[in-house]
Amino acid sequence: MSQADWALALTIGIGVALRGLGLLLGGALRPDHPGIAWASAVSVATLAAFVTLAIAAPAGLLATVPLAARLAGLAGGGLAFWLLRGRLLPAMAVGLAALSLARNWTG
């Protein structure tokens, strides 16, 4: 098994454990318990760091898209999301279109 396979297997196992623990504790633990608040904060922070890196310093094929075009995609998607009052799918379409247009425009 490769490292990627091991990582997948371990992540699946821990995911089952986290969900199982939650079902076991359900009703017994208040939603504002410190352990739960910490898990939520780590979850949001990891995701925020991932998104920031993916936009500011991506790897692979996305790195071939200029930073200005990635920022245009983010701005276009964010603006559409706000104007359309939180409708995700059309906002994503606008964001990806803005990224593609900005990429063509910047050459």
């Binding site: 091991w6 969900r19 199982g20 990891t46 094929l61």
Partner: protein, 211 residues
Amino acid sequence: MGATFLAFGAAVAEAGLSLPWALLCTGAVYGMAGQLVLLQVAAGGGAAMPATIAATAANARFLPMAVAIAPLLGRAGRRWWALPFIAITPWAAGMRVLPSLPEAARLPWFMGFAVATWSAAMLTTAAGHLAAPLLPPAFRAALLFANPLYFALLLAADAARPGVAPALLAGVLAAPLAYVVGGAWGLPLAGLLGGSLAFLWLRRPARLPRG
């Protein structure tokens, strides 16, 4: 939701990992935040341990989600059927609909909804993986941007909920740390550190009013 799994399937193909890897990841991890983080660290040649820690940190919300929905899923024995499907889409629908249903109808409703959305996720993951090599590079690059954009919008919308904004800000500020540390450990380190600092900030003792 389908769009994110389609983009995930394409990203797995882009990283050179197989269709079974993509399907196992969607089917059994079944939490897009963790799936994306796992893919990024593992596909970058990272070792299994940091990739697992980063993905688990990103999906740590499974625990509070399961705690919240457990009482709605009925008696302890039968609720275990729902375990693999505690993910954001079925969870959010369940939290909204289940309280209004009679108790006997709750678990069957949740299982029906969850299996349908899970099947759609599997199909779109496969479609993304199979279609990716056929698409022009510019289109593939745009598709790889779909998931970061999706989560950027979700996080922005979530920032209004209590306790989310400090963790969001801490994660963004910790991103340069992840970049500087680099490799496979950067992201899990940034997430754990940023999230823990935000947690401590939220629990700081309230200042006494001056008087």
